[in-house]
Symmetry: C2
Subunit: 202 residues, 2 copies
C-alpha cells in the first residue's frame, strides 16, 4: 500500500499514527505530496479527484480517502489492537474523532486565511469565527478528557489535533486554562506512534 | 431523538434521507437552526461545540455529530434496510461518501466566499481551486456511476451533493458532459426520501 502524504498534514498524521498503533507501519510506503487548495497536485488528483492527502493507494490501484475511511480500513485489517470499537463505545469514539477533525478543519482553513490568501483579502470576522470553533472544541476536549479510554480513534485524532496546534498555532497557547488536556497530551505525545510522526520543525 | 437541522444544509439532508430510507424518519424530531461560520448559533454550540448542523441529540442529552457519524449510528439501529455495507463493499461505499462530502466541502466554502465574504475580500484563485475540485469530483462520479449499487450511503451522499449543486450552483450546469450521472440522478431524485427533503425554493 502506498500512502500519499504530507508531513505537515494532521489528517495524514492520524493515518500514520493508527498504522503504527495497529502494527502496520511497515506495510505502508509513504510518498510525499504537496497539494494546495488553489492548485491540485497532479500526482494526487490522479488518485483522489479532491486533490487532498492522505490518500491510500491499494495494490490493485484503487484509492481510499479521506483520513476517516483510511483509518477504518486499516483498523479492519489490523491483526493487533483495534482502535474503532464496536457497540455503544463506537459512537463516543467517532464523535471525538469528529470533534478533533472539526477543530482541524477550522485550523486548516484559518491557516489558509492567514498564510496563503493575499494579505489585503483577509477577513477578520472569518478568522475570529474559526478560532472560536477551535477554542470551543478545546473546551469540550477539556471536559471529556478524563473519561477517555487510553487509545481509540478518538484519542488519536485529538492528539493529532493538539499536535497541529503546537506546530502551527503556538500563540494560541491551548494549554492555558486546560490543565487536564495538557496533562493527558504530555503523556500521549510520548507514544512511539506520535514521536515517529512528528511534523517537521520550523 | 432531536436533529438540529438546516433545510439548506446538504449534510443535514443526507441524514434525513438515510432516516427515510431506513424507516426512521418518524423517530426524529427536526429542530431548525441556522449557524454561520462567522457566528456560532448558541442553540447549536450548546450541543456541538463546532457550531455546525446536523447534530443529533439523543434522549439522554448526549449529542452525535457530524453527518457521517449520525448516518452510521442511525444505520446501525435500522430495523429495515442498511446503507452501510459490511465486508469489502464497505470501502467503496465510504469512498463514494467521502467523494460527495468533499465535493460539498468545496461547494460550501465557495458559497461562503461568494456570498458571505465582503465583496472586496474575495480571492479568485481560491474560488477557481475549489470549483476545480467540484468539477473533478463530478468527473469521477460520472466514471463510476454505472457501477454503483442502487442504494448505499455513497449513493445517498452523491445524490445530496448533486441536489445541492442544483440548489446553489445552477450555472455550473453539472449535467453537461455527464450524461450517465444526469440519467442516474433523474431516477434517484424521484425517491420519496429525496422529495421529502428537498431544499427550499429560491
Amino acid at each position: 500500500m502506498k500512502l500519499l502524504y504530507s508531513p505537515a498534514s494532521p489528517y495524514a498524521r492520524k493515518v500514520l499514527v493508527l498504522a503504527h498503533e495497529t502494527g502496520q507501519a511497515d506495510a505502508i510506503t509513504v510518498q510525499g505530496a504537496t497539494p494546495s487548495p488553489t492548485a491540485g497536485a497532479p500526482d494526487v488528483t490522479a488518485h483522489n479527484p479532491l486533490g487532498k492527502v492522505p490518500a491510500l493507494i491499494l495494490d490493485d490501484g484503487s484509492c481510499l480517502y479521506d483520513s476517516r475511511v483510511i483509518c477504518e480500513f486499516l483498523d479492519a485489517r489490523s491483526k493487533g489492537p483495534r482502535l474503532f470499537p464496536e457497540g455503544e463505545a463506537r459512537w463516543d469514539a467517532l464523535v471525538r474523532q469528529a470533534l478533533a477533525d472539526g477543530l482541524l478543519d477550522a485550523a486548516l482553513i484559518t491557516r489558509y486565511e492567514r498564510v496563503l490568501r493575499p494579505e489585503g483579502l483577509r477577513w477578520d470576522a472569518w478568522d475570529a469565527g474559526q478560532i472560536g470553533k477551535i477554542e470551543a472544541a478545546l473546551d469540550r476536549i477539556e471536559a471529556v478528557v478524563a473519561d477517555m479510554p487510553v487509545l481509540d480513534i478518538g484519542t488519536v485524532a485529538i492528539a493529532c489535533a493538539l499536535g497541529y496546534l503546537d506546530y502551527r498555532y503556538p500563540d494560541l497557547a491551548w494549554r492555558e486554562g486546560r490543565p487536564a488536556t495538557a496533562a493527558w497530551y504530555a503523556v500521549f505525545e510520548g507514544r512511539p506512534s506520535m514521536t515517529a510522526t512528528e511534523p517537521p520543525k520550523g
